[in-house]
């Protein structure tokens, strides 16, 4: 029989801090230091702490921006689908008010030269910020025009050096029900996941947005960093990203898991392929009275149609 004799110097099991306790403690420290530093207007990296309303300067213009009238900041920040902060459109603005996004780290995993965890500042710093005024078409048949500030996703991916095995990139939202109260109910299978085929991710229209209206991204719009792929339905534009994983197989994406008959992996805006329960041929632009016709690929057909040449878009919806 084996009897374990404890050395005097050994830590007793009762003295080990329970995982739950130390995680809570760490979280508290993270939030407390983050809040203290951002209150002082600094971050760990000496650049201004990112909170909504902070002006972003030296923004480049882009030829991809639309010249259509832009929706008001009020509309863009008060009508949000962000189930992590409640299922009603007005809820995220309220529920995300105290969401602390500093510090924020992003894990890069999978088929990539150097898997690593980056602080958000380091992740963004090598790139110039651009303004991109894009149409956003929600799968619920409403749309807006939004002046994002972001970085071309292609530039970031090139820097991360995915291997030749990387065929898709998967994005994951933060999963922390204490900070994202909507996750306390299993309305969707948390954490939210999205994905793009590599050629889609490398398309110049795809950006990671960190700002809106020339200022740091408001919490309810997916702070501190979110995807924007304007030719796809809104739900592809995953918010509050904490992980990028380069993978060989097509990743399972949240809405396609939730309702595979209604939401697909590609989710390209397409007036000819209806949602099984409502039409996608028209949309209401927020602020307008009459509905307008929905455009194929949300009006970005010229730029992106070649990505899907030969594909049956009714089948790969």
């Amino acid at each position: 029989m084996l009897i374990r004799v404890r050395k005097a110097s050994e830590v007793k099991p009762s003295e080990i801090t329970a995982r739950r306790v130390y995680e809570a403690r760490r979280n508290f420290l993270k939030i407390a230091t983050g809040a203290a530093l951002s209150a002082a207007g600094v971050s760990l990296f000496g650049v201004p702490a990112a909170h909504a309303g902070t002006k972003l300067s030296n923004l480049g213009k882009s030829r991809y921006s639309t010249t259509e009238p832009v929706n008001s900041l009020q509309d863009i920040t008060s009508y949000n689908n962000f189930y992590e902060f409640g299922v009603e459109k007005e809820e995220p603005a309220q529920m995300a008010k105290n969401f602390v996004t500093t510090p924020w780290s992003i894990a890069v995993e999978g088929e990539v030269a150097k898997p690593a965890v980056y602080q958000l500042e380091d992740f963004i710093k090598p790139h110039a910020l651009e303004e991109r005024i894009y149409r956003l078409r929600c799968v619920e048949a409403w749309s807006m025009v939004i002046p994002w500030v972001g970085i071309p996703l292609a530039d970031i991916i090139k820097r991360l050096q995915p291997t030749s095995k990387a065929k898709y990139v998967e994005f994951v939202t933060l999963h922390d029900p204490a900070r994202m109260p909507g996750q306390k109910r299993s309305v969707l299978p948390w954490p939210y996941r999205e994905g793009l085929r590599m050629d889609e991710a490398m398309h110049p229209l795809a950006i990671l947005a960190v700002g809106l209206y020339g200022e740091v991204l408001p919490n309810q719009n997916g702070a501190p960093i979110r995807l924007v792929v304007p030719w796809k339905y809104g739900f592809k534009n995953i918010k509050s990203i904490v992980k990028l994983r380069f993978v060989e197989q097509q990743p399972a994406t949240t809405w396609a898991v939730q309702g595979p008959r209604e939401y697909g992996f590609f989710a390209n805006v397409n007036p000819d392929v209806d949602h099984p329960r409502w039409t996608q041929s028209k949309e209401r632009r927020i602020g307008e009275f009459l509905k307008r016709k929905t455009l194929k690929f949300n009006g970005y057909e010229e730029e992106v149609a070649s990505l899907y040449a030969g594909m049956d878009l009714a089948k790969f919806y």
């Binding site: 008060s78 109910r185 039409t279």
Partner: protein
């Protein structure tokens, strides 16, 4: 001296005003606070919610009598007509404001999309009930009046299904409506079975 509320005299006028309050609140919000980024959707949701609530309240009159012995049957017609009033607001918001008489696309909507189909059917079926709600019509239809108005059970079912089928992922709220409807109908079924049993045993004793 206690001031007594004359229910017989003021009951109906008070209920009338109470039933108008949701609409007045919506109008107040529209004028003074705005209805948010998508007011048309807001009006649709709001009037739809109140249609279902009033419909369930109307259907609660009988269970309330069975369970608590409180008869509000003389208010039931007004509750039913207010249900119809809110469904009309809901329907005309869809017809006029949401689609601006785009009949072609609305017809497609009714035919192709089951949640619209059932909602539209519920609305159409409510029309004859509203039309036959007058005393003269009750008299004229006799026994058939009751038969006709039993359609309200089917209408209620269509109404809650309409709501259940339109939500994207979070079906908690529509399921609450379903549960209430099932409970209200359950009380009726339970009561009728109980009565049948009582009647049978009474007959058995008599013979």
């Amino acid at each position: 001296m206690a001031i007594k509320f004359d229910v017989a005299r003021y009951g109906k006028p008070v209920l009338f005003i109470v039933c108008l309050l949701p609409l007045l609140w919506l109008a107040y919000k529209a004028f003074f606070m705005g209805l948010g980024a998508n007011p048309i959707e807001k009006i649709s949701r709001y009037t739809g919610d109140w249609t279902l609530r009033l419909l369930l309240i109307t259907l609660a009159v009988t269970p309330l009598r069975i369970l608590a012995g409180v008869s509000l049957v003389k208010y039931r017609r007004m509750l039913g007509l207010f249900t119809f009033f809110y469904v009309c607001l809901h329907f005309f918001n869809w017809l006029v404001i949401d689609n601006f008489f785009d009949v072609d696309s609305m017809l497609k909507d009714v035919i192709k999309h089951p949640y619209v189909t059932v909602g539209f059917a519920a609305f159409v079926l409510l029309i004859p009930l509203a039309v036959t709600s007058t005393n003269a019509m009750i008299k004229r239809l006799g026994k058939n009046w009751k038969r006709l108005h039993q359609a309200v059970y089917a209408i209620a079912l269509l109404g809650v299904v309409h709501y259940l089928w339109l939500v994207k992922a979070d079906n908690r709220e529509p399921l609450i409506y379903v549960a209430i409807l099932v409970a209200l109908l359950g009380v009726r079924v339970w009561d009728q079975t109980r009565r049948k049993v009582a009647l049978r045993s009474a007959r058995a004793v008599a013979t």
